[in-house]
């Protein structure tokens, strides 16, 4: 009768008319049988299946049996436990009308796919047993994916080329769990190693449990003269479709400056910190990727909003008083951080070849503690940075925002200015960035196949420091409004799995002193901030 995978197949719909005729005998009345005769809605010999379905969908119908056909990967053994599949199929037995059966079958198929262990899930309902017109049988066919995955990738992130190697064991014991190990190595000596364990449908709940332990070393010498080492573990609970997640992270962060040339502001940040943070992420995605056109590279026509809220410093409750003397950083990170990203894509004509896209991002980082809200500066590793092809085109990576002069190298006279003193990017506690672009497909069919698009854009943003600045909120607000940066330009966009690769020619409309600008041609990856 109905297949929950694609639109109803005509062959199976033919039996719908037979079942409808039988169903009418069980008390629906003559109207149904009259409607079931061919020619009721169109040319003779052609059955209007949609109208037929609309009429019989509320008839009583229940599923007596679900036949399962399970295929292992490439003909191997089928590993997934039967109880796992049975649990997802249980609600189908409770359906009482045809429409409910259809809905439950679709929902069960979606849940099975969300487990992430099957490459193909298809269900078909047909009219067996024939003697009971209100009963049907469901055929389920599932095929598993391979239990071992190996992945290697290179990409450019944050001004640094990175090579990533990952290996994973999926569903080795049949409970749909996944164990992955990841290793990333960057050209500037940054490296990350992590081990993660994921269990979908943990305890029967519609949630995925993830436990991840990682060691991260990030080298920020070029932009801010410090290196960060973070060792910790994350415990996460995510919804099955990935739209909401609650995470708790406990880690040891160590900031060091091996170059000994950091500015005073960064020097005061060095040390050991305890990161104990609770993070909630929610994504509301109303974009339709299936619409096609230019909007497909941006995730589809429509809009999407993502919000991340993070509170750090709740646990463990510390009995310790302030450390490091007046004005020094405390060893336990305490802040509240909120970030909102929104994007809207509006196709400008029916073919979808031109799309107008508007995106906005805003973030706020506020420290809290016994001394008051804005007394101490926040940790530089938590702050927001702006600049680069992803956030503010026309400026170098981390090129926008508060800066401080680095320590001059020894042996150089203080008054010599043969080269301008290099500055450290300090980042800020409050930022906003806005991006508006008109993206269009290029006319040549070869370029269309490559999915190369062109775009013209306007990009603006600002980031300021709030905590530890010693100024009143009114002053900070006026500074935020008056020191906005703007740039505009045009370029080419190529979508890749890591984000959009953009080649832009940028013109700066407004910048501030000490911003590191990139005039002319700028190449880079623009990762989408939403999803």
């Amino acid at each position: 009768m109905t297949s929950s995978e694609t639109e109803p197949a005509p062959a199976s719909a033919a039996s719908a008319s037979t079942a409808a005729a039988d169903a009418s005998g069980s008390g629906a009345g003559a109207a149904a049988s009259a409607a079931a005769t061919p020619g009721a809605g169109g040319a003779p010999g052609v059955v209007d299946y949609e109208a037929l379905y609309e009429q019989i969908k509320d008839k009583p119908c229940h599923v007596v049996q679900i036949n399962q056909r399970k295929d292992g990967f490439n003909g191997g053994t089928f590993r997934t436990r039967a109880s796992l599949i049975e649990r997802e199929l249980d609600p189908i037995y409770k359906a009482e009308t045809l429409a409910e059966v259809h809905e439950e079958m679709e929902a069960a198929g979606k849940r099975l796919r969300q487990l992430g262990v099957f490459t193909g899930v298809s269900m078909l309902a047909h009219e067996e047993p024939l003697d009971d017109p209100a009963a049907c049988t469901v055929e389920l066919a599932v095929e598993e994916s391979n239990w071992f995955k190996l992945r290697a990738a290179t990409y450019v992130q944050g001004g640094e080329s990175t090579f990533e190697l990952g290996a994973g064991l999926t569903n080795a014991s049949g409970r749909a769990e996944a164990l992955t190990a990841n290793l990333e190595y960057g050209m500037e000596n940054s490296h990350t190693a992590s081990l993660a364990f994921k269990q979908p449908r943990v305890g029967g709940l519609p949630a995925t449990l993830e436990v991840r332990g990682s060691q991260l070393f990030r080298n920020n010498q070029k932009s801010s003269s410090y290196t960060e080492q973070l060792r910790g573990a994350v415990l996460a609970l995510k919804s099955m479709d990935g739209s909401q997640g609650l995470e708790y992270e406990l880690g040891w962060r160590r900031l060091l400056d091996p170059s000994r040339s950091a500015s005073r502001a960064v020097m005061g940040q060095m040390g050991d910190y305890l990161l104990s943070a609770l993070r909630y992420t929610a994504l509301l995605d109303r974009r339709q990727p299936a619409a096609g056109g230019a909007a497909a590279t941006l995730g589809g026509a429509g809009w999407a909003v993502r919000s991340t809220t993070e509170v750090a410093g709740l646990l463990p409750p510390s009995g310790a008083g302030g450390v490091g003397g007046a004005g020094g950083p405390s060893s336990e990170l305490r802040y509240v951080r909120q970030q909102v990203d929104a994007v809207a894509n509006v196709p400008m004509e029916e073919t979808g070849a031109v799309v107008f896209s508007v995106g906005a991002s805003a973030g706020l980082l506020l420290p809290w503690g016994p001394d008051g809200v804005l007394a101490r500066p926040t940790c530089i590793a938590d702050r927001f940075f702006l600049g680069g092809p992803s956030s503010l085109r026309g400026f170098k990576y981390k090129g926008v925002g508060p800066t401080d002069v680095r320590r001059p190298p020894e042996g150089r006279a203080a008054t010599s200015d043969s080269a301008a003193p290099r500055r450290d990017a300090l980042g800020g506690d409050a930022y906003t960035s806005i991006f508006a672009s008109l993206m269009f497909q290029l006319p040549h069919p070869a370029l269309k196949l490559l999915r190369l698009h062109g775009h013209a854009f306007v990009n603006g943003g600002n980031v300021i420091q709030l905590a530890g600045a010693g100024r009143s909120p009114a002053e900070l607000l006026s500074e935020f409004g008056s020191s906005w940066r703007w740039s505009c330009g045009a370029g080419l966009v190529l979508p890749t799995p890591f984000g959009r690769f953009e080649a832009n020619y940028c013109v700066l409309l407004s910048s501030q002193e000490h911003d590191r600008v990139k005039r002319g041609l700028q190449l880079g990856f623009a990762a989408s901030s939403v999803a």
């Binding site: 060091l256 060893s331 196949l449």
Partner: protein, 349 residues
């Protein structure tokens, strides 16, 4: 001695000592003996110091070099202070310099090892150090993790195959020798009435052994049992450690108060243009060799990728069929030939 002020980063004060780490006491002792003007900054962990190790010295643009070991870091501080602040060994005769070298290497090879062993390898000593240094300053998981990782580092650096009892016996022998030398010379400091760098090095170890609960009992008893050593330490403390050190915050406040109301930073100031100065052209920052190499390699990579894309588009036959183009060109030539033949035929007839 020049006028700018040094900043000494050290472990906080504890047990009545200027610092809970003997190496930091050594650095501070040298600065006090030299009469330098300095301010101190107490750091909760060694990562909070600008070099990643304590003690550290900062003076204008100079920062003491980063060393893996705290006694090497103290050595770096002393070397800088000797060269740029005051050389305490300038007044020594040649024979005394030879003795200085001998005693200094004795202190470094024997006392350093014994001190590190009692602080980091002895269970009771390590517990005391942990409590004093990290106990009430770091939140719970860090207060165990960080001392443990530091202990591993120190143990890795200790010379291998050194037994604790041998190390402590050697240190006790050195203390006896020092006491005998002090007794026989009878002067205020080791090499006469004026202090030398050896006095700074000794002050670190001896003060620590006398007072700290982390010092091994054998060392503590040895120091207490030699009255000449106790008098020497009392003299040192009385003459040079009487005044507490200026904390850095107080120094900065004084500087700010002295510097006064020069141009309010937040409320805006006149730009250079408003003051009549022409804006200098932005200085050209020369890219470093690594950046040039990176740029060259990325250009090659992009050219190669572009060439691959162009080759695929042209040669794969999916977008432009060369065979068809050639055929069309050939057919066009054939048609011309046929046309000529027809004309000829027509002409013949």
């Amino acid at each position: 001695m020049s006028g700018s002020v040094c900043i000494l980063y050290k472990w906080p004060e504890c047990w009545g000592l200027p610092s809970l780490s003997p190496a930091c006491i050594q650095a501070e002792a040298y600065l006090r003996l030299a009469g330098a003007q300095f301010a101190v900054e107490s750091c909760p962990t060694s990562s909070s110091s600008p070099t990643g190790q304590l003690p550290a010295l900062e003076r204008d643009a100079f920062i003491s070099p980063a060393e893996p070991d705290e006694f090497a870091a103290a050595g770096g501080v002393l070397a800088y202070a000797k060269k740029h602040i005051k050389d305490l060994d300038a007044h020594l005769s040649l024979a005394q310099r030879a003795d200085l070298l001998a005693f200094t290497s004795l202190v470094e090879s024997r006392l350093n090892v014994a001190t590190l062993m009692t602080c980091w390898c002895e269970p009771r000593g390590f517990a005391e150090m942990k409590k004093a240094a990290y106990g009430n300053k770091l939140p719970f998981p860090l207060s165990q993790l960080i001392p443990w990782s530091k202990q591993r580092e120190v143990r890795r650096r200790l010379p291998p195959h050194v037994e604790p009892d041998q190390a402590f016996a050697d240190a006790a022998a050195v203390l006896d020798a020092l006491a005998d030398r002090l007794r026989s010379s009878g002067a205020a400091f080791f090499f006469g009435a004026a202090p030398s760098s050896l006095d700074a090095l000794l002050a670190g170890h001896l003060l620590f052994y006398r007072v700290s609960p982390a010092a091994a009992p054998v060392l503590q008893d040895k120091v207490l049992s030699q009255p000449v050593l106790c008098e020497y330490l009392d003299r040192l403390l009385g003459r040079h450690f009487a005044l507490p050190a200026t904390p850095r915050a107080a120094l900065e406040q004084a500087a700010a108060a002295g510097g006064g109301g020069g141009g309010g930073s937040g409320s805006g100031s006149w730009s250079d243009a408003a003051r009549g100065q022409k804006k200098a052209p932005p200085p050209k920052v020369e890219p470093s060799a690594a950046e040039l190499t990176f740029r060259r390699h990325s250009t090659y990579w992009l050219l190669g990728a572009g060439a691959a894309v162009a080759a695929y588009v042209l040669l794969s036959g999916r977008y432009i069929q060369f065979a068809t183009l050639l055929e069309n060109a050939v057919e066009g030539a054939d048609d011309d030939d046929d046309g000529d033949d027809d004309d000829d035929d027509g002409g013949d007839e």
